[in-house]
């Protein structure tokens, strides 16, 4: 099971290796309790994150997506997070036209030393997504076939 039905929601995190993934490690080392919903995908840099990965996650049924990178000016690759900030900001704006609440998607900056901040971000974001509730995945099949399968399975 990807998540515990009824208890967890599907929350995907894209974290840069150098800052936020390290910050999540620091939070772990410090034993900072966090909700269990979040699953982390490690990427080298927030600049690697094509906003379309976020879209894909929502299409496939993610209820929330969190991107976290190095603080502006602290990017391990100098500029990656600067580009990411623009792209993700515009994308966060965009998703409302799709009918996805912008609060389901957040991007933020957490450094490798900020274990406590990471705990706070995860906790608050998870609560934020739980407030919105689940987001139904977009059907993989056509609506007709979906209706047919739904009638077939009472």
């Amino acid at each position: 099971m990807p998540v515990l039905e009824g208890r967890e929601l599907r929350i995907i995190g894209f974290l840069c290796n150098w800052c936020s993934y390290g910050g999540a490690d620091t939070a772990g080392v410090a034993r900072f309790d966090q909700p269990t919903d979040l699953r982390i995908i490690r990427v080298p840099c927030s600049g690697r994150i094509d906003p379309l990965f976020v879209a894909k996650a929502f299409m496939n049924g993610a209820d929330g997506v969190l991107v976290s990178g190095c603080h502006p000016r602290d990017c391990h690759y100098a500029e990656g997070n600067f580009y990411a900030r623009r792209r993700l900001e515009v994308f966060k704006n965009f998703i409302s036209v799709l009918g996805i609440e912008p609060e389901r998607f957040e991007y933020t900056w957490v450094s490798a030393s900020e274990g406590q901040r990471w705990q706070e971000v995860v906790t608050k974001f998870t609560n934020q997504v739980h407030t919105l509730g689940p987001l139904a995945p977009v059907p993989e099949i056509s609506l007709d076939r979906l209706a047919a399968t739904e009638t077939a399975q009472p």
Partner: protein, 316 residues
């Protein structure tokens, strides 16, 4: 004005492989792209509200050849954008501009006249379009059948041209207020989602939206049909069709001039321009940037500022 335009083109023609404009199509209501090689071809040129196509779409494939192109204001922004992205060379393209009074939406006309057979005659004058078909005559006010994009047009004259014919017109509006978008987004999120589910379910995945888009320059390498990267399956489900529209819009963020070709080309009339309108507004609000005005500009998503003016990051 049309004659003046023809003369200008004829004068320039010897230096060019050909000039792209519009001619009459299979009937009087439908214009079609016209490739003018000889002076006689130029005589077939038409100019008016039926010139719906954005001919800039042809240009990237013609890179390296010397061609002319006739543009409306909106088309010229696509040309500017292609220049900015180095997909065409400025010295290879001769741009013929003329003031545009707006184009029609054939979808809207079809809604008025129905699915008629042969169109016998079309006339437009003084803001009225008269279509004679199957014996009946339909009079329509141009503003009722105008393409939506013309309602918020700020650039009726070519933003760049080598030859501009006629008198420049004042813009339709000073500012685009995105009322269409505001109206759509006045619905609750769930209704918006439901709306798109139904619309995307109707999509026949023909890619006409993409193929008509002057800035969909990946052509044969569109990620919609590749396995590496494998963004989409070839399944006929809602998810992949919806995802494709998101990909299309996202790839156009900061580049799209909202020329509306995607929506015009859609055979099942899905309002796919709305996605791009949303990005356009976000780009305008965040970076005060309009695509397709300055071939020398660096588009906002290929740039950054260490301290962004209009981005407020979430404080946890």
């Amino acid at each position: 004005m049309l004659e003046q335009l023809k003369d200008t083109i004829k004068k320039a023609l010897p230096e060019l492989d050909f000039v792209i404009g519009w001619g009459m199509g299979f009937d009087a209501l439908h214009a079609t792209p016209l490739f003018m090689y000889e002076p006689e071809d130029v005589d077939k040129l038409v100019w008016g509200p039926l010139n719906v196509h954005n001919l800039a779409t042809y240009l990237p494939a013609l890179k390296g050849r010397k061609v002319g192109i006739v543009v409306k204001g909106c088309d010229s922004r696509s040309v500017a954008e292609l220049l900015q992205e180095n997909l065409i060379n400025r010295e290879d393209v001769v741009i013929f501009g003329a003031p545009c009074r707006g184009t029609v939406s054939l979808t809207k006309i079809r809604k008025v006249i129905g699915n008629t057979g042969l169109i016998e005659d079309v006339n437009y004058a003084d803001g009225t379009l008269t279509v004679k078909a199957e014996g009946a005559s339909h009079e329509m006010a141009l503003k009722d059948i105008r393409a939506d994009k013309c309602g918020y047009c700020r650039f009726p004259n070519a933003v760049l041209s080598d030859h501009f014919v006629g008198e420049k017109r004042a813009p339709q509006v000073e500012e685009d207020t995105f009322e269409d978008l505001a109206e759509f987004e006045s619905q609750p999120f769930e209704e918006r989602r439901d709306f798109w589910m139904k619309e995307m379910d109707r999509c026949i995945r023909c890619y006409a939206c993409r193929n008509a888009c002057p800035l969909c320059v990946c052509r044969d390498h569109c990620v919609a049909q590749s396995r590496d990267p494998h963004w989409l399956s070839q399944q006929d489900g809602v998810r992949d069709k919806f995802m494709f529209q998101i990909i299309h819009a996202t790839h156009l963020a900061g580049r799209c001039t909202t020329c509306g070709e995607c929506e015009r080309a859609c055979p099942v009339d899905i309002p796919v321009l709305l996605f791009k309108r949303k990005f356009t507004k976000a780009i305008k609000d965040t970076f005060d940037y309009d695509a397709g005005l300055d071939p020398e500009a660096t588009p906002p998503l290929l740039a950054f500022k260490a301290n962004e003016d209009n981005i407020k990051e979430k404080e946890w």
